[in-house]
Symmetry: C2
DNA sequence: CTGCAAGTTGAAGTAAACTTGAGGTCAAGC
DNA sequence: GCTTGACCTCAAGTTTACTTCAACTTGCAG
């Protein structure tokens, strides 16, 4: 315990809930930065806690670390980001969240329609055809998704 | 083109939107089955199309292939599944979808509260503390999620 | 000064869901 | 009968977001 304004990696890990290894990883991909002690140990500014919080939350919203890095790149470098700065970034999540929710609701409603008939038939059933490309939800393949529906016979 | 009731892997790929390599993969993990021609090529029953449709849709809902395999295992083996069979499985997704939507809405609402203040401060802000473990949404780490919040000072 | 928890590095492993590649076979039209 | 596109297998590669391991070094309490 100290009065030192800088935090050790263990302290940041403890407070952010991100493991030390995760913090090192974040640093390796350019999401956060640190200074070093003479003995080569990392020391973090307090503002890093907020930055990590942003990263975790953005991640929960579904952004990839790449996208998060891009977002963070818009923060001013010459000064510690203000609440306004963070607020601006967070606001950008809103449409994304709305889209995700809408997509799931669409899926749910279509499912309701289909449950009655137990169809799930390709091409004939709405469920099988994404409908919009805002998919990219949950794990699974993002590669070919809604490419060619092709003809229908089953 | 033929009158053959069995489909080649290419046909199934074309109609289902899942690449041939994906279908082989599904087979390798026991999600679908096929018979073979004398020349060792796969031939699929038409019902496979429905099965694949189920897999893709369940996947979109966020189920892992493991879970999907478990669900499919409850289908009768001795006969081609009826609409009722599929309907039963689909109905089981509903609570899951509802939970996913609720989780996202919770996140959005909390975000709305937080946007005004640009807080995102750890522990002090609801956004940083998951609240329920129904997370498992979108990509990213499912490992440590909401483990120890720890104390708060920033 | 000593001991030991905490920190360091780089490489390798993990998980899910597939894709790609190499090397070889099959089937159908001409 | 031959060419060509579709298929086969098996191993290895891909992506994202980390964790784990081994082998070592620091830093602080006693």
């Amino acid at each position: 315990m100290s009065t030192d304004p800088l935090l050790t990696i263990g302290e940041v890990a403890e407070r952010s809930g991100v493991a030390s290894s995760g913090l090192r990883y974040y640093e390796s991909v350019g999401l956060i930065a640190s200074t070093r002690t003479t003995g080569n140990q990392r020391r973090y500014a307090r503002s890093t806690l907020r930055r990590v919080a942003f990263i975790r939350t953005a991640s929960r919203v579904g952004l990839t670390l790449d996208e998060i890095r891009d977002a963070l790149a818009t923060l001013p470098e010459e000064r510690t980001p203000t609440k306004k700065d963070w607020s601006r970034l967070s606001r950008a999540w809103r449409p994304r969240l709305d889209a995700q929710i809408a997509e799931l609701e669409r899926l749910r409603d279509t499912l309701d329609e289909c449950i009655g008939c137990g169809c799930l038939s390709l091409n004939r059933c709405k469920l099988s055809n994404p409908g919009d490309r805002a998919a990219k939800l949950g794990p699974g393949p993002r590669f070919l998704e809604g490419d060619r529906p092709a003809d229908a016979t089953d």
